[in-house]
């Protein structure tokens, strides 16, 4: 499912017959399945299929870019906190609890305003808050492994703490954090789309599912497909991501 979506997004320039931003005021609001426009056109006569696929490119790449750093940083910070325990754990807990007590969207919106709307704002915002969820999960797991005999055996062999965290604990934490990664990516996608919908995300005319939904909203009675199609894409991607998470978790569970 996800593979198909990524493939379509990657090959968008080759599939699409229309420029996603090209307006054609003589062909506005064509219904889906119209000649030449598989998914119809919007109120400015832009081809919806092209816009959907180009939006997939933007949304998915922002999602991936904004997720990479928090995933690794959060996982390693969390593992270190859980493994060392004591003061390191207390400091990390204080930071995560403070951030988590903060309403997430408020924070995102504040940062988005500070850094300005657009792709960079979203990535920066997510780098600031995104690592917390990984840190929490990784910390809890690492703390549960800290006193197991296989970790003690590794210490007895003289392995360094870094080596134990990276090569003994990390493989055991990975399945769980990857499941978190997938659900978190879905949540991130929703926030990217939400920000787009609110007009502080990816700025028009760059195609984005969120702004497409909001642009279509005013015509929801006459042309519901304008909002429904990008809405469906969000749901589709969310399901695909969580299926990947489940699949990977099953494979790694031994």
């Amino acid at each position: 499912m996800m593979g198909l979506l990524i493939l379509l997004a990657l090959t968008a320039p080759y599939i699409c017959r229309y420029d996603p931003m090209a307006q054609d005021l003589y062909a506005t609001l064509k219904k889906p399945m119209t000649e030449g426009h598989l998914l119809g056109t919007d109120q400015l006569g832009r081809d919806i299929l092209s816009r959907i696929l180009y939006a997939a490119r933007t949304d998915l790449s922002v999602m991936a870019a904004a997720e990479v750093f928090p995933f690794f940083a959060g996982t390693f910070i969390g593992m270190a906190a859980g493994y060392f325990g004591g003061r390191a754990d207390a400091v990390i807990s204080l930071i995560t609890d403070t951030f988590i007590a903060f309403p997430y969207y408020l924070l995102v919106i504040v940062v988005a305003f500070m850094t300005g709307a657009g792709i960079h704002g979203i990535i920066v915002t997510f780098m600031i808050v995104g690592w917390l969820v990984y840190a929490r999960v990784a910390k809890a797991l690492a703390a549960s492994f800290r006193n197991t005999e296989w970790v003690e055996a590794a210490k007895l062999l003289g392995y360094s703490d870094l080596r134990i965290i990276a090569f003994e604990i990390f493989p055991n934490v990975l399945p769980q954090v990857v499941v978190v990664l997938m659900t978190d990516m879905a949540a991130l996608l929703v926030s990217i789309v939400t920000l787009g919908y609110l007009g502080i995300g990816i700025s028009p005319p760059t195609p984005d599912w969120g702004s497409m939904i909001s642009e279509g909203q005013s015509l929801i009675n006459t042309a519901p497909y304008l909002s429904l199609i990008p809405g469906f894409m969000v749901v589709y991607t969310g399901i695909a991501l969580s299926l990947i998470g489940d699949g990977l978790a099953d494979r790694w569970r031994r």
Binding site: T148, E149, W150, A153, L156, L157, G158, Y159, E168, P171
Partner: protein
């Protein structure tokens, strides 16, 4: 016989509570010292202090007369290895046995890949484990097999001393006996020193050369196996002996 390990006047505490009080004992080459005592007497804490997992409050630990410092070198770490009580959590579940052994040997002994492969195969055979052991994950073995793998890992880095903390207490009787015999044979073959911790006096009697009795964090009695089992010097020793069911 040469002394391998000297434990001198160790005091240690966990979470502010003093567990070990003035613990002293030694182990010679090619000797198994049995450390007995009820639960909570401090046996496992003593093991942790000797391996360096727990820092003592005071006292010293000497290996071949050389004092071990708080921060141990790679070689010092490798010279004391341990077999743990619980076979289920002794091995990292994410790695195949071959990798667990190979990592230990390449880190500790810096051997070539061929040498590691050869030694791994020898160890597995010596431990009477299945041929394909090296290619399997820990989850696919029984408790007794896992304990023998843990023993193989400990032996792989050529330690001077092995601490076995109740390694057979979770195994059933027939498996237990084979494991004890293996430990005995390995000791003879390699001239190893072993600190064997157990609350099971039957096991201690079967396996050990000398016995040390621990109570409330102190060593209250040490002696040869024969003399301890015939005539314990302390009241507590007699109590322990009389609590063993006679068959």
């Amino acid at each position: 016989m040469k002394n391998v390990l000297n434990v001198k006047n160790i005091y240690a505490s966990i979470g502010g509570k003093q567990i070990l009080k003035d613990v002293c004992f030694d182990i010679s080459e090619n000797e198994i010292l049995g450390l007995v005592g009820g639960s909570g007497s401090g046996k496992s804490t003593a093991a942790k202090v000797i391996t360096g997992l727990l820092k003592p409050d005071s006292g010293s630990i000497e290996l071949y007369g050389r004092k071990l410092s708080g921060k141990r070198s790679r070689k010092e770490c490798g010279s004391i290895q341990m077999v743990f009580q619980n076979p289920e959590s002794s091995l990292n579940p994410k790695y195949k046995i071959g990798k667990i052994l190979a990592d230990a040997m390449s880190f500790q002994l810096r051997l070539s890949r061929e040498e590691i492969a050869k030694r791994s195969a020898d160890l597995i055979r010596r431990m009477e484990l299945p041929e394909d052991t090296l290619y399997r994950y820990p989850g696919s073995f029984s408790g007794g097999q896992k304990q023998r793998i843990a023993l193989a890992r400990a032996l792989s880095v050529e330690p001077d001393l092995i601490i076995a903390d109740e390694p057979t207490s979770s195994l059933d009787v027939s498996v237990q006996l084979r494991m004890l015999d293996l430990i005995k044979e390995i000791k003879e073959e390699r001239g190893l020193s072993i600190l064997f911790i157990s609350h099971d006096l039957g096991v201690i009697n079967y396996l050990c050369d000398r016995v040390a009795v621990m109570k409330d964090g102190r060593i209250i009695e040490t002696g040869d196996r024969g003399s301890f089992f015939e005539a314990p010097k302390t009241e507590y020793g007699r109590e322990l002996l009389s609590s063993v069911p006679r068959i």
